[in-house]
């Protein structure tokens, strides 16, 4: 098989070289971190007052773990290391309780992140001459823009289609001979089921590859996609806190994802104790960003569960591989690629006076796509006796949730007292999707 590299020297470097790069970059990152209010407070408490206090990679362990909660509590500028005049891009994501989180990128950071993205794209064999239809959301979410920049750097022709509007997506694929898709697996399966409706079949398309990600999926889902379309589907992994997609990507061998260890230090921990787990054992992925100096973030708990492969990959890349994401260590839901915390839903519905305090969140499959159902009770004292009021209320709940979580849920309005009442811990979320 023909192997393409974006930066062969670093991609195939020996362990010692990678670790030397990591140490040098970690020291530089600590220097930047000491300019941020968050790390100015945290690092001295563990004896790190200057980059010279990092003597070996083992010193990484001294640095405290950081969580989404830390990002939220330090919103908006607690992790910012530079003057905002140095920042060229921000991305935000909605937080767990309505307070968002933000990442900042300087021009140099963006350049480095784009380079890593380019490396990921090339690892799949995609190259100049390919046409990438980028069907992830653009805007505040990193998935769209970061892939876009990386693909342009490689020299692909990019169609910034963003998500939704299946009919137009199919038309774009036909008109411009799209060869590569960047898409959630559920949407890709959904599109297949609609091809006939739009008078199209797979043979009318020029597809060769799909970069699938943003939601956990099984090997069976990948195989199904590959069979239905006759293409290669590559698993991708990323998160906005680590600059978006391209943190780890599959190569042409498709045997799990190379995590770019010169750009991110990978640890896997036991989520309960915080202790490292051995390679091969499932745990929580913890990442240190080595390439973003406007906003340092070290030992970040991703809440994603995976394990590490150390066996060599025939592609010659030496960077360790992580398994597909096996689930979460928190209650975050991933619905059609969008990350949602149940607490965000609770926050919205509890502000609406016409609904009661009991609610339930259901997630199920409707065809290939996820369907989010929010069940609430009408608050009896607010009922005015008109059907129109109920219609308006349902629309209001749906609109306000959409504004917060970006996807439109189905609202089920129930009579007061009908939803189950729990003694002890309430079971608010019922996820009926197949487990990985």
């Amino acid at each position: 098989m023909e192997i393409h590299y974006w930066n062969k020297e670093i991609e195939t470097a020996d362990r010692k070289t990678i670790q030397a790069v990591q140490l040098q970059r970690l020291k530089a990152m600590v220097a930047s971190a000491l300019h941020t209010p968050f790390y100015k407070r945290k690092l001295p408490t563990v004896g790190i007052n200057s980059p010279d206090d990092i003597k070996s990679l083992d010193d990484l362990k001294k640095i405290p773990l950081a969580s989404k909660e830390d990002l939220r509590q330090n919103y908006p500028k607690g992790f910012l290391a530079v003057d905002t005049s140095e920042v060229v891009r921000i991305h935000t994501s909605s937080g767990t309780t309505g307070i968002p989180t933000v990442i900042y990128l300087s021009a140099a950071d963006l350049d480095a992140a784009t380079d890593i993205m380019a490396r990921s794209i090339v690892a799949t064999g995609a190259t100049r001459g390919d046409v990438l239809q980028n069907m992830m959301s653009y805007g505040l979410f990193t998935g769209g823009l970061c892939m876009h920049y990386g693909a342009e750097r490689v020299g692909l022709m990019v169609i910034p289609a963003a998500g939704g509007n299946t009919k137009r997506q199919i038309q774009l694929m036909k008109d411009f001979g799209t060869t590569v898709l960047h898409i959630t697996p559920s949407y890709l399966l959904h599109i297949h089921s609609t091809l006939g409706e739009f008078g199209t079949s797979v043979k009318d398309l020029s597809l060769k590859k799909a970069f699938i990600g943003a939601e956990p999926h099984s090997e069976n889902t990948r195989k199904k996609i590959e069979e239905l379309y006759g293409i290669d589907a590559y698993n991708s992994y990323g998160l906005s806190e680590m600059n978006g997609p391209g943190v780890a990507f599959e190569c042409v061998y498709k045997n799990d994802l190379h995590l770019w260890e010169d750009a991110y230090i990978l640890e896997v921990i036991d989520p309960k104790t915080g202790d490292p787990v051995p390679d091969g054992q499932e745990g929580e992925v913890v990442l240190t960003n080595l390439i973003r100096h406007a906003m340092p973030l070290m030992r970040y708990r991703t809440r994603d569960r995976a394990f590490v492969h150390t066996d060599p990959c025939p592609c010659g890349r030496t960077h360790r591989r992580i398994s597909r994401i096996l689930g979460r260590t928190d209650d975050m839901l991933i619905i059609n690629g969008v990350n949602i915390f149940p607490s965000q839903i609770e926050e919205v519905i509890m502000k609406i006076p016409e609904v009661g305090t009991n609610y339930q969140i259901y997630v199920e499959k409707q065809g290939s796509l996820d369907k989010l159902i929010v069940k609430v009770e009408l608050y009896s004292k607010m009922f005015l006796g008109e059907a129109k009021q109920i219609d308006k209320l349902k629309a209001k709940i749906s609109d306000e949730l959409r504004a917060s979580i970006t996807i439109k849920p189905v609202i089920e309005l129930h009579e007061p007292g009908v939803l189950p009442v729990f003694e002890g811990k309430a079971v608010r979320v019922v996820d009926k999707r197949e487990k990985l």
Partner: protein, 144 residues
């Protein structure tokens, strides 16, 4: 003006029965009823012998219910009368949200219940009276 009891009911087995059970317990007689169907839910609309008491009893059980002012109009059970009534309302641009009718024995007396949009801001009552119809109040309605 007559009072109609409106109850929010979700569309699943046993929900209507829960209401009639509660009404039976307090001795409320259901004179007439209708259901405004909205798919996964509906509004049950009841003319009962003692609307205030029925309302309080249901509200006490946590039901989402409300008492609404409606026009209860005596419409003789013969050809053309409903048309005459509706024409009078239409001519005055009065909008009907929902309506139901029933016939009371032994005199075949027709009663039409009309839910009027923004009823307090319209002259619906005088329009109906001027068209020659009798408007019934709670008491008349129950003692028919």
């Amino acid at each position: 003006m007559a009072k109609q009891l409106h109850i929010f009911v979700e569309n699943s087995p046993g929900r209507l029965k829960a209401i009639t059970e509660n009404l039976q317990k307090i001795g409320a007689n259901i004179r007439a009823f209708a259901i405004q169907d909205r798919g996964d839910f509906g509004l049950m609309k009841l003319i009962v012998s003692n609307p205030e008491q029925a309302y309080l009893a249901l509200a006490d059980k946590g039901c989402a219910c409300a008492l609404k002012d409606v026009l209860a109009i005596s419409v003789p059970d013969s050809c053309g009368n409903l048309h005459k009534l509706l024409s009078a309302l239409a001519d005055n641009k009065i909008n009907i949200i929902d309506a139901h009718g029933f016939v009371l024995q032994p005199n075949n007396k027709g009663v039409c219940i009309l839910e009027i949009e923004n009823i307090t801001q319209t002259n619906a009552e005088s329009v109906v009276k001027n068209a020659g119809f009798e408007i019934l109040d709670d008491q008349q309605l129950y003692n028919l």
